[in-house]
């Protein structure tokens, strides 16, 4: 991939992803993305260039399907009026209201890059980029699909959830993610809610830690039991192949439908799952605190920033003071000392 201005007309019709960066070396990441996604990625180096001029030129061009911007643009011309990709992202959004804009940063712990990160639809740590290569085409596809949505039903249909979940999902959606479908920027609004709340918070969807806990298996052993839950796997809009999720309601359905005990519904999910999946004794989950079987929650060990999560009993934990409880989602908890 060459580092050159976007003046090639033949190229124009093909470009789907625009990558704006002041580190020319990062063009190889753009090549990785092109190889992995099969999409056409154009790398625009703004190294030593005046951002204002560059952005004016880029904005006057056609709209790509996605933009990726380096968060810190400190190697642009000294006269550039900003050094933050987030400012640029805001500008591009004015022109291309429906285009997803991702930031990329060499910094770690992007959660600490305060308010600026909210300008992007997502901010990615540079050394985790390979985890997003297969996800990005899904994002682009999802934005296109969201752009065509006419009503709430159409939008919910994209999630491919169980019918009985529809009303609950509607209930937890913020107002701007279920109205103004025709208004520009709907896809961005809905993506942010989906990605930061619906996909991230355990509730409707479970990550691997929660699946393991739900079925009463140690995290290290859960991979071998996942084959039973193929139907529960999330494959709706914005599906992220690297950070997989499973529908909690379908996990229920799978394990309880396999159980022959008429009173199964009165038994804990871990108990039933261990029985129907024939979980080996050594694979059974134990509470990190009391060592007894079948912890029901995934909790932080303490309130520090580097704290890990472990399987624990609810009784061995307390509500995490730094998280607010949200109805229909699991409560975030922390180990009781």
């Amino acid at each position: 991939m060459e580092d050159k201005p976007r003046d090639n007309v033949a190229m124009k019709s093909k470009v789907q992803i625009l990558w704006i960066d002041d580190y020319p070396q990062r063009s190889k990441r753009a090549t990785d993305l092109q190889d992995a996604s099969g999409m056409n990625v154009e790398f625009i180096s703004v190294n030593n260039k005046d951002l204002e001029e560059e952005i004016a030129r880029i904005r006057s061009d056609y709209e790509p399907e996605m933009v990726i911007i380096d968060h810190i643009l400190d190697k642009t011309s000294p006269d550039s009026w900003t050094r933050l990709g987030s400012t640029l992202a805001g500008l591009l959004r004015e022109t291309w209201e429906e285009c997803p804009v991702f930031g990329i940063t060499a910094a770690k712990n992007v959660g600490q890059i305060d308010i600026q990160r909210y300008t992007y639809d997502e901010l990615i740590e540079g050394d985790r980029f390979s985890e997003y290569e297969r996800y990005i085409p899904n994002v682009i596809d999802g934005f296109k699909k969201c752009g065509k949505v006419k009503d709430i039903e159409g939008w919910i249909a994209l999630l491919k959830c169980q019918e009985e979940e529809i009303e609950r999902i509607k209930g937890c959606m913020p107002h701007d993610a279920k109205t103004d479908f025709e208004k520009k920027g709907f896809a961005n609004r809905v993506y942010r809610w989906f990605r930061r709340r619906f996909y991230r918070m355990p509730g409707f969807l479970y990550d691997i830690d929660w699946v393991a806990t739900f079925v009463g298996v140690k995290k290290e052993a859960v991979e071998k039991y996942l084959k039973y839950f193929e139907t529960a796997k999330y494959d709706g809009v914005f599906n992220d192949p690297h950070h997989r999720r499973w529908w909690k309601a379908r996990l229920y359905e799978v394990i309880y439908s396999k159980c022959k005990d008429e009173n199964a519904s009165h038994r804990a999910s871990q108990d039933v799952a261990n029985e129907v999946l024939r979980v080996k004794k050594e694979d059974r989950s134990k509470c990190y605190v009391c060592k007894e079987k079948w912890p029901e929650t995934v909790a932080y060990v303490d309130e520090s920033k580097t704290s890990g999560v472990k399987q624990m009993h609810l009784r061995c934990t307390v509500a995490h003071p730094l998280y607010r409880y949200e109805p229909m989602f699991e409560e975030i908890r922390v180990m009781e000392g």
């Binding site: 990062r26 190889k28 990441r29 990785d32 190889d35 992995a36 204002e52 000294p78 006269d79 009026w81 050094r83 060499a106 910094a107 770690k108 712990n109 540079g126 050394d127 985790r128 980029f129 390979s130 290569e133 990190y288 605190v289 060990v301 303490d302 309130e303 520090s304 920033k305 580097t306 704290s307 890990g308 472990k310 061995c316 180990m335 009781e336 000392g337």
Partner: protein, 748 residues
Amino acid sequence: MRELSFVVDSALLSELGERLVETVHLALAELIKNAYDADATEVEVMVMPDQKGKSIITVSDNGVGMTLADVQKYWMRIATTIKVENQVSARYGRPKTGSKGIGRFSCRRLGNRLELVTTGRKKDGKYETTRVEFDWDEYKPGTDVTQITCPGETRTAKEGEAGTKLIIRGGEYGEWNQRSWNTLKRRMVVLVANRGVKRRGFEEDLGFNIKLASPDFEDEVFGNTREQLMEAGWGTLKIAVEKDGTLKCSLKAKNIGERNYTHKKAYPELAGTTCEIAILPDIREQLREPRVLSLGNLKKILPDWGGVFIRQQGFRVYPFGRPGDDWLQIDRDRGRRLGQTEYDVLRGLAERLEGVERGRELLNMLSSQSYVGSVEVASPIPDLFEMKASREGFVGEKGVRLLRKAVRFGIDWSTIYRDYYLRLVEKGKTEAKRIAFEEAAKVRAEPQRVVETAAEYVKQEVRQLTSKLPRGEKGVGRALIKATDAILQSDKTTKDELRHLRLVASTSSLLLIFAHDVRGLLGDLDHYMASLAAIGKQVTGTAAKKVARMREEIGESKERFRELLDMTSLISVDSKKAKPQELALRDKVEKTVGCYSLVMEKYDINIDYEGIQNHLKTGDILEAELCSILLNVLSNAIKAVIAGGRTKKILITAQKISEGTKVNIFDTGVGVRQESSDDLFVPFIADPKGTMYPLLEKRINPEDEYIMGTGSGLGLSIVREIVRARGGNVAFRAVKGEWKTNLEIMLP
């Protein structure tokens, strides 16, 4: 009865002139204020002696002047109410400064003869010049003021220049001295701070300046009071952009002298732009010329006249520099406590100047009103500074953005020097105390040995005094000597620690660069993983397995680096921002042990912490502190077991007791003798027996030395400092069984 009327005795003039206006400099100040109130933009004042030792004072201004009618109506009328009625000047709307119509009687205080020459513009557009002479000696007590006439003349011309000139003769030149001259200047700086402003409903005020001349009190023929004001503050910053865009900054400042900086070809769009800014902190000690600029005046000047104006071809462009306008974003950055300059080259300067703290170099930046001056903009690009028709700003933002960057470069640069100056002042105070001690004690105290010399002096004196005390009271003297010994010892230890910590601190930038590069490397590893994944799809069989294995190995290395980086950023966290909290001990031990996993594997070291209950939490402590404690004690234990060379086992146990969380670290290493165990907490004593490090050297692979550190002997002293600060303690305890060492830490 006939109607009666008052008659005014001439004595009233001397009452007004001499009693109300006590001193000559106050009298002259009143006349200058009159010029200001008459909307003059410049006034020239000259005070000279004549051959007989009497004074000749001339005051010339270019204000609106007076017509004959004005002279009769206002000048010749005692205690006119015009200044009460019109509180602002007619042309520019200046708030009037004179003292309610008594200024002209100041002339009486300054000499016995006055010549008034004034030119005013009449309603018909013609200029009328009036010259009147006053001989104050004729106004003797007992005579009626209205009966004395003053000779004069009037002429009218089509062309002319408005203004007023006063020539006062016959005063006592001996009343003038440098002190009264300086007082006059100090009073006048408030007026010259007016550098131009637009007031609603009036013509634009072009500012006011005073030129003072006196052969005895002024170096130059005409001292420019505005320039003197600009030179009186802490420093004067000048910025000029040359034809090729090179930015040249020069700073003249107190205790700093003259400094220059050239930023090559940085702003070609601003070629021809110049700027002069006075830096005026409202701290008396920091002013270069407090005789000209008093703190009281400064406080009056800054709110109204502070700030940096923008001018184009001499005309002021609004709103830049108006009170409350922060076009240079100085107050914004101060509000955010922005410590670091955005200019890389200046960060380098901050690092080079002794005492200036890099990353906090802008914390001493003054508020925008303390920068007083203006920028004269120029540009080879025709439209860059196209003024709006209203002169309220420019069309387009780019020019001002560039200008801000250039001027802020200069201001940031000068702020770094001001920070350096403040450090010098502190150093100066220390030096002054040292000299005072030398002079009082008649001893030589080298700057590096002040504490030792002073303490030795105290000891010597106390010894002498004690020898004269009765036997029963000598104990006090002995105690004082012991106290001095304690001070000396503590000072020595502190200096040693400081020396070493300076060394350690000097590597912190390197650590940051290293961490930054490792982050870059992590990105590369991620790229290689992606490439291998792509290759993996194109090959089959053994090759595919090999590629998958390589990818996995790279992934493991990447995660290990990430963890180490996590630990690095944790340790270098700003302890002022972090909050102490209860921490899950086992989780932190697990992470710390993880940092040593390569060494453990290589030297077959077993670290057992299974006994620590998962739910055991410490009391409130910073995460960085706990990790620092664990890293240090584990590093020591690992070194000890490698040096021991036998079974390499480390056991960590922990339990909650009433005093806190008790953590014990046992190891099978070289052991610690109980009698020398306390020495290990003294800084720089890493190996009191002198046996561990030779053994370690013998048994450790040279390439692993860096992992073990240099044996500075600071590790355990740091641990003790942290633990004690949190109300805990640390000590070596008795051992039994296979264990050679038992270090016990009582955490909160």
